[in-house]
Symmetry: C2
Subunit: 392 residues, 2 copies
């Protein structure tokens, strides 16, 4: 039933090739964190928009000091938010964030000034520079240039920059809708008390929480009976942009996913990957273009697939290429003779090194608790300090 | 006005000492991702709850094979979700996830079986083991033990494990309410068109997005006039559990934050930190215990404080100790002669190395675009490959 196995690299490449770029939509800045920009953010004004005072202190004409003047009568206070003024007298007190008074070309911080009776006294031999403590207009960027590129994941710095540019609405890639379909007649809802031969469903919630936390997809969790007609009806009627099956993809007598998808979509793009866990993983593409990823029901295989395949593919749909970083292993891991082994890891105090969380068996869910993603151990295993790709 | 400077280490320690652990609340499992467990998740049943078949194939009594039997009449199909059965005949077909039929003690996958006419034929000399391909009841854990510890940050693996244990509601630390108060009469809203001497507010939205994305706080953004009475009235009437001021904390003539907080809360716990950016940072504690963090208005200083102080402190309130990982620098950074320098960095292909995003000046916001957190460069600078703490 399963075609010959493809490599992990081949499986990823075939999936990545078939992923379509999403459309964009306008998102309010207060909801834009963790989204991806579909258009650049442009500076609507020069940055900074005016010669901006960077220290609290006094503003003078440097030429006066150079000519020997040491006492400067303070002509008033010029604060951030005050409209433009001119330096007509000898000095103005200026506050951080204020526009530099026109005519002034030097700001001296309070620490270096002796201020008394409305007069500022300066020492001899101060190393004053023209435009010191002044953030020059347009020195960070002129108006109209792209400050944040299209394709940038939006974090707090990008939110701040967008706000300062007046981008209260940001063009972001849409969030695709995805259905996670669990099958398996032994599964009951999390709120139910399972009978002796039953277990509770967990894969749907794991996938949903992982993808929604990063705004990679809007996920519906569905559970369908081990019934070919029910599965076919769902695939035909669903309006989700991507389908993920968990379970029913192997060689069991009640595993209908392969049969149903092959009837509806034809030959799999691949079915069977040289990896543990997750060997029965398959990929189909329906005539209307929708991708269907079929995973085994083993919860560790599902967690691994979230990190190694689903998150990178959904990122690709919004234009983000996630290259797995290379990390070193804190100890030897024997791995699998012929297959790539995906294992959960925990980060250590040194950011380049991870510790493998060893499982008792391939379905030992609890070993993944506390994991910071998965690494892919090459066939044959990996030694102490060997670099392996890390999927967070 | 500013007390003598404290070190970054001292500032963090004084903040961490005053942080209170939050109360807990029950959270539905569908909303629990990124929260922190306030109570352990216990296995409500042994894991797995029964001797669980791990491969699709046939179940036999190993003793029959050892005694020389090679043909086994298939007595029926036993699938996942079927109630317990007994192996009465010679063999049963069993599916992954099914209960092991009582009496059987060996599962042989289809790949190794010659099945025809309702009879399974086995080769001579198969290296069969007792209980092979069977996930033994309670082998991962007995009932009643803690599967996920209190204090664990909840990710997709923990959601999956919680679901399988029937924990549809999880005891999590509450999300504290926090107000970010920007001051500065030069600031206008993101949706407004600033006049020549004005700029748009960005710090509040940056703090809000960073903290809410990790469910560290529920953040209200407020903007108050540079007016001591207005500030005092807000501090007295606010019911937020923590206050963060951005701006107004320096030596300017319109910087009222120090004056107001000192009147209401007494001496600062510290005011002035030997760091760039963010030297005027201060911390006060009101009589009712509320902490007030005062940051300068420089947006890069605010971003640095989010990573170095606010996120670690809010994590501590929910019992998570965030130890900054050590990363190496991809190139030399000259830093500051006497102060610790917090600079934005980007991760590289090797997980242990980061690249400093160099800014043109201390208020150059755009340099932080694309940053993966901040590193703290020691006074005097840091060389190529030197390890520095990384705050993500």
């Amino acid at each position: 039933m399963m075609s010959s196995l493809v490599s992990v690299h081949e499986a990823w490449t075939k999936l990545a090739e078939r992923v379509d770029k999403l459309d964009s939509e306008l998102v309010d800045i207060t909801h834009a964190h963790s989204r991806v920009l579909a258009e650049p953010i442009l500076a609507d004004r020069p940055l900074p928009p005016f010669d901006r005072v960077m220290m609290d202190g006094i503003a003078i004409r440097l030429a006066d000091y150079s000519a020997g003047q040491r006492s400067f009568v303070i002509d008033g206070l010029h604060a951030a938010g005050d409209p433009a003024v001119m330096l007509i007298g000898e000095a103005l007190e200026v506050m951080t964030g204020a526009m530099l008074p026109s005519g002034a070309d030097c700001v001296i911080p309070y620490e270096l000034v002796d201020l008394a009776g409305g007069v500022a006294q300066l020492d001899d031999g101060m190393p004053l520079q023209p435009m010191q403590n002044i953030h020059l207009a347009a020195s960070d960027s002129p108006a109209g240039v792209s400050i944040v590129k299209s394709g940038q994941l939006i974090g707090s710095a990008e939110i701040g920059v967008a706000a300062s540019c007046g981008a209260s609405q940001l063009a972001c890639y849409k969030i695709p809708s995805l259905a996670v379909v669990t099958t398996g007649d032994e599964l009951v809802d999390v709120s139910e008390k399972p009978l002796a031969h039953q277990i509770r469903r967990s894969n749907g919630l794991a996938v949903k929480s992982a993808l929604e936390a990063e705004k990679l997809a809007a996920v519906d969790c569905l559970h369908l009976a081990d019934d070919a007609e029910v599965l076919a009806e769902f695939v035909n009627s669903s309006d989700h942009e991507m389908l993920v099956f968990c379970g029913g993809v192997s060689k069991g007598k009640k595993d209908y996913v392969h049969q149903v998808l092959s009837e509806l979509a034809g030959e799999p793009i691949f079915h069977g990957v040289a990896q543990r866990p997750g060997k029965p993983m398959g990929l189909w593409q329906l005539a209307d273009g929708r991708l269907v990823v079929a995973l085994p029901g083993n919860p560790v295989a599902v967690l691994a697939a979230i990190h190694v395949y689903l998150k990178p593919a959904l990122n690709l749909m919004r234009g983000v290429v996630v290259n797995a970083q290379m990390v070193r292993l804190s100890e030897e891991f024997s791995g699998h003779a012929a297959f790539i082994f995906h294992v959960p890891v925990a980060v250590l105090g040194n950011a380049g090194v991870v510790k493998v969380l060893r499982a008792k068996n391939s379905a030992d869910y609890a070993a993944a608790v506390g994991a910071d993603g998965f690494v892919s151990i090459p066939a044959g295993g990996a030694g102490f300090n060997q670099s392996v790709p890390w999927f967070r």
